[in-house]
């Protein structure tokens, strides 16, 4: 029941939002998303230590095709939904007073929240696909209507690229469906159908799923839509894309590829991992000389996600658990960093790193927030990034040491580009653009402080989260 409510509240709120007077728009959206979060938090705190799906709702939908509206959560879904409901209120809050946004804007965000939660709780292959595509619609409009100069061209490319990817997934899902004993999209049946296939067939399905998930994350070399889209999207759009939406891809790997296609994984997992690892190094090196800070963070996201993908494909509990905790951490860090970028851009009217500097003098609170997020991003121990990266590299190492060594260079390269960015924007002497830099407003603090707290909390007590997903991961990997 809880699961259904978590989908319903944002959906109802998204519709109601359209009838809310413009000046109350933001307040209404925050309230609705906060209610969702509180409910989710309560569910999380009571979540049983079990690998089974909890709070399952199963309503027949298109009975003749064996399609059911079946939703429910195991520990992995729980954490993803928690991340979504935690970030959405902050993303809405990050809209500043001066940029009055129409109710449609908030409605789209809430609709997106509904779809994202749907993706994470679907226990039916067809339903999963429906939510997957539903999530694309609101973000498309958010980017198209409120994006930057080149939004039309960039957004179209993003839309077609990811849509093409998901069509491959649909084909794979239908193929699995046709091989179920009783023609159903029920997730357990699809798992069984997949595992009964021979290796070459699994390989083709692996490729199809990989295209869909790999484009979404994105994994090298399927990533070229990402820097442009992140840069052109409005801040809230970038946050939604990087903070939550890309986790759909990783979640997809965990939920679909790992349990369904074990033979293909052992045969082609290597290639996927190498692509991901190459992406880590490739994107990190490109990030080093980026002068547009938003683009820089976009590339850093490709690097971080690459490491998550590699760890998850390693297919052992340490790597998958690392991937899950790093999805939370990355969501928190990247949303925080894109908000920092937003603040920089609004205050200085530029995103060029070279024209900033000396902000710490003017705005110590801002500088501290930026520093803590930077530390999380470079995976300093006792911040959130370390737990994830350490477990991921560990998981990769267990699978194949040489990959961990190559991927491990991220801890050096990450420090290079993040500290360069921090130094050139925040330290040194002030420039014309930064000499009147105002420190954080109460509204901005309200967005950043919860994120900063989570950076430390995950860094010190990761077990709060790890223990929730552990039984589900064990179950998933044992092939049940």
């Amino acid at each position: 029941m809880q699961t259904a409510i978590l989908i319903l509240i944002p959906l109802i709120a998204a519709i109601a939002q359209l009838f809310v007077p413009r000046k109350y728009g933001k307040r209404f959206a925050i309230t609705a998303s906060l209610i969702t979060f509180v409910l989710c938090l309560v569910t999380f705190l009571q979540f049983p230590t079990s690998g089974d799906y909890q709070y399952v709702t199963n309503i027949p939908w298109i009975a003749s095709l064996g399609i059911n509206f079946k939703i429910g959560m195991d520990g992995i879904s729980m954490l993803m939904v928690l991340l979504t409901t935690f970030l959405v209120p902050l993303i809405i809050l990050s809209v500043v007073q001066s940029e009055t946004r129409t109710p449609v804007f908030y409605s789209l965000i809430l609709f997106m929240e509904m779809a994202l939660i749907g993706v994470f709780v679907s226990l039916d292959g067809f339903l999963f696909y429906i939510f997957w595509e539903l999530a694309l619609i609101p973000i498309y409009f958010i980017c198209l209507l409120w994006g930057g100069e080149h939004r039309v061209r960039v957004t179209l490319k993003f839309f077609i690229y990811t849509l093409a990817g998901s069509l491959f997934m649909l084909v794979a899902l239908v193929y699995l469906y046709l091989h179920t004993a009783s023609h159903t999209f029920e997730i357990g049946e699809l798992y069984r159908a997949g595992r009964s296939l021979d290796a070459p067939t699994q390989g083709i399905l692996f490729l199809f799923f990989f295209l869909a998930f790999g484009i979404k994350m994105p994994v090298f070399p399927l990533h070229t839509w990402q820097p442009d889209t992140y840069t052109e999207a409005p801040t809230q759009g970038t946050m939604l894309l990087s903070g939550i939406m890309l986790k759909m891809g990783i979640y997809g790997v965990i939920r679909w590829i790992l349990p369904t296609l074990p033979l293909a994984l052992s045969q082609y997992g290597d290639y996927a991992m190498w692509l991901a690892i190459i992406g880590v190094i490739y994107a990190s090196i490109i990030a080093i000389t980026r002068s547009d800070i938003k683009r820089l963070i976009a590339y850093s996201s490709i690097a971080h996600v690459g490491l998550i993908a590699a760890g998850v494909f390693a297919g052992n509990a340490i790597g998958v658990q690392g991937g899950i905790i790093q999805m939370l951490s990355h969501g928190i860090n990247v949303v925080g960093l894109f908000f920092i970028v937003d603040i920089l851009q609004r205050r200085t009217n530029t995103r060029k790193i070279g024209s900033m500097g000396g902000i710490r003098q003017q705005a110590p609170f801002f500088a501290t927030a930026f520093l803590i997020l930077t530390l999380g991003a470079v995976a300093l121990p006792l911040t959130d990034g370390f737990v994830g990266e350490f477990l991921l590299i560990n998981g990769i190492y267990i699978y194949k040491p040489v990959m961990a060594v190559v991927g491990g260079f991220t801890i050096i390269l990450g420090a290079v580009y993040m500290f360069r960015t921090y130094q050139r924007t925040t330290l040194g002497e002030t420039s014309v653009e930064t000499e009147k830099f105002l420190d954080l407003t109460p509204n901005e603090k309200a967005v950043l402080i919860p994120l900063l707290i989570m950076v430390i909390v995950i860094g010190i007590w990761p077990n709060i989260f790890l223990k929730v997903s552990e039984p589900a991961v064990t179950k998933l990997l044992s092939g049940n």
């Binding site: 000389t289 052992n316 500290f419 330290l427």
Partner: protein, 636 residues
């Protein structure tokens, strides 16, 4: 005994952590005086607890493990916040909190006029917290936590005066170069986990007994860990960050870049003694790296004119001695030198700070001279520190350095020889510094009025001077009638190794040890006399920047151009690769394929659209052809 340790050990890192949190959160709302009081009080409290623990250590030298909390549990991986108290960690605890406390007190005076004094103390307390984690942690993972944490604090404190670009660059360089070492540490740690199923010392060391000497896995592990040590403890090739790190306020140089953080690498190797004992190759690499670094850094120190740079290269060189000692298996000698070095190098840096403070920020020794009468306390304490580092008996450095050289002689004559050469150069460059700063007449012009520093700075100097003078007495070798207490104290930690390597004491007779000692002292005295003739009697002053130096001196003065080489070989190519990947591979290749795919689909769509002519006749025609074909195939 163990109960007391169980109950109190957690307090040691807790005090500075609380200090950090309070100061960081309240920051400017606290008065400067109160901030200093909180920061120093936290350290004093930790020091007292460290003392209590020291005096309550079990007599048999066994280790006590203290469980604080669980940390990460994922799959088969499990890590907790556990502390390990044994003779080795307790010595480091005393050094860190004791010397740390003195430097905190000194900082109250030194940083008094800085507008960001409060943040300075917050960083210092945070540093102590991480440093304590590093030495108290009972697993490699916790050591890594402290390891990276002190790196962060070092970054923050080197770049403390953040308006200055070159300071920021130095800070960034320190962090990144340390991260290169950290990658080695990290990979080594993963191999440890893969091999032993845990990163806890207890598990690792007890399982290590099952390996043979020279085992490839153990050798790989120890070499990887040593890469980390090279970064943190500034050994070739990862040493260039340390001299640049002198950009930070001088108390930071004393605390982090001399007395404590940079000795983390020594702690790591000593702590892993059991593993290194199984890896003769790694031992040799450690010893060789130390021996080469100690000579290499000493040659650079001969020509530097910045008072802090001289001390910085001297630190690199002294760390080399410690690694040399580790490499020949003289683990307790190495730890002994860590201790005496903490005393005299902290003293020298704080003395240098006092000089810089007294001269209003001047660091160039060509503009000093004759400070003996103007700064009497700084002078006398600095002299004691100089004597100690030069290895003149009975000052502390003499005993620890001699201990190292004796072990080196017994194990590898080349290492001993390099150590001796280094000792000679140390005596020379330190007395060059001493004579140029304190003797002769003042060269800084009429406008500068040198003055002695306030009591809050000179009292720590005096305490450290006493320690530098007598600190060596805990390690008087047996043949001189001493009992070498430190060796005995640490013995239980290192005797756990499956192979005993600590037989140098019996390996050489006391007669040869005495002669080695005499050779070293004579050599040092000779080089001191040379420095005296050159810089005090003949009043030579290093030439100004504009004047050309002879080739060799020029090479040394420019530090062998290593920074320039690194920049040309690593930094610049990396930037160029980055640009290449972005502008060529990314946009011209990968993205262009994506776009071409799009164009192709469009084109194919266009082709297919040709079929949709809207001409019904054509549709019927195609349909008929299709049906005929179907029937045809059916019949086949």
């Amino acid at each position: 005994m163990k109960d007391i340790i169980q109950q109190t050990a957690g307090l040691i890192p807790l005090f500075p952590l609380i200090g950090f949190v309070i100061i960081a959160l309240l920051n400017k709302r606290l008065s400067k005086g109160l901030t200093g009081l909180i920061a120093c009080g936290a350290l004093l409290a930790s020091f007292v607890v460290a003392l209590i623990i020291f005096f309550n250590l079990p007599a048999d030298g066994s280790a006590t493990e203290v469980h604080i909390a669980d940390w990460i549990t994922a799959g088969t991986f499990k890590a907790s916040f556990n502390f390990l108290i044994d003779p080795l960690s307790s010595i480091f605890l005393l050094i860190i909190t004791g010397v740390g406390f003195l430097i905190h007190v000194y900082s109250v005076g030194y940083m008094h006029d800085d507008e960001n004094q409060n943040i300075f103390f917050a960083y210092l307390n945070l540093f102590i917290f991480f440093m304590l984690m590093l030495v108290m942690g009972s697993s490699y993972l916790l050591m890594f936590v402290g390891w990276e944490g002190v790196g962060l604090c070092s970054y923050l404190l080197i770049g403390f005066w953040f308006k200055n670009k070159s300071y920021n660059d130095a800070a960034k360089k320190a962090f990144i170069m340390n991260r290169i070492g950290d990658l080695g540490f990290l990979i080594g740690m993963l191999l440890i986990f893969k091999t032993f199923g845990s990163t806890d010392y207890k598990t690792v060391f007890s399982h290590a007994n099952g390996f043979f000497s020279g085992d490839a896995v153990i050798t790989t592990i120890t070499l990887l860990l040593f890469v980390g040590a090279m970064g943190k403890s500034a050994q070739i090739p990862l040493y260039t960050w340390l001299p640049d790190a002198m950009a930070g306020p001088t108390p930071v140089s004393a605390l982090i870049h001399a007395a404590t953080m940079v000795t983390a690498g020594i702690y790591m190797v000593a702590r892993s003694g059991v593993l290194y004992a199984l890896a003769p190759t790694s031992m040799f690499v450690v010893g060789l790296t130390g021996a080469i670094t100690l000579v290499f850094a000493a040659t650079i120190a001969l020509t530097q004119n910045d008072i802090k740079k001289v001390l910085a290269y001297s630190t690199v060189s002294q760390l080399g001695y410690m690694f040399l000692a580790l490499g020949v298996g003289a683990f307790s000698s190495s730890v002994f030198h860590v201790m005496t070095h903490a005393f005299f190098k902290a003293l020298l840096f704080l003395g240098a700070g006092s000089v810089i403070h007294g001269l209003g920020g001047e660091q160039d020794i060509r503009k000093m001279g004759g400070l003996k009468s103007k700064m009497p306390i700084t002078w006398i304490t600095f002299l004691i520190g100089t004597l100690a580092i030069a290895g003149i008996p009975p000052f502390s450095g003499f005993f620890s350095k001699d201990d190292i050289l004796a072990h080196a002689y017994a194990s590898n004559k080349l290492f001993w020889f390099l150590g001796l050469v280094g000792a000679m150069m140390t005596a020379f460059y330190m007395f060059r510094l001493y004579f140029l700063v304190f003797m002769g007449s003042f060269r800084g012009g009429d406008k500068v009025h040198a003055h002695e520093s306030p009591k809050i700075m000179t009292v720590p100097l005096m305490v450290l001077a006493v320690l530098s003078a007598i600190g060596g007495f805990v390690g008087i070798p047996t043949f001189l009638g001493g009992s070498n207490r430190i060796d005995e104290f640490l013995e239980p930690v290192f005797s756990a190794s499956p192979i005993k390597m600590f037989s140098a004491e019996t390996g050489s007779s006391s007669v040869s040890e005495i002669s080695l000692m005499i050779v070293a002292v004579i050599a040092a005295v000779l080089f001191i006399s040379w420095a005296y003739m050159k810089y005090s009697k003949n009043k030579e002053v290093p030439v100004p920047e504009s004047q050309k130096l002879p080739a060799v001196q020029n090479l040394l003065y420019h530090k062998y151009y290593v920074d320039e080489i690194y920049s040309a070989v690593i930094t610049k190519p990396l930037d160029r690769i980055s640009g290449f990947l972005e502008s060529i591979v990314e946009s011209r290749f990968i993205d262009s394929i994506v776009n071409k795919t799009g164009t192709f689909v469009n084109w194919a769509g266009g082709l297919l659209r040709q079929l949709q002519t809207g001409n019904v006749d054509f549709y019927i025609f195609v349909m008929v052809v299709g049906v005929v074909l179907m029937i045809f195939f059916k019949m086949m």
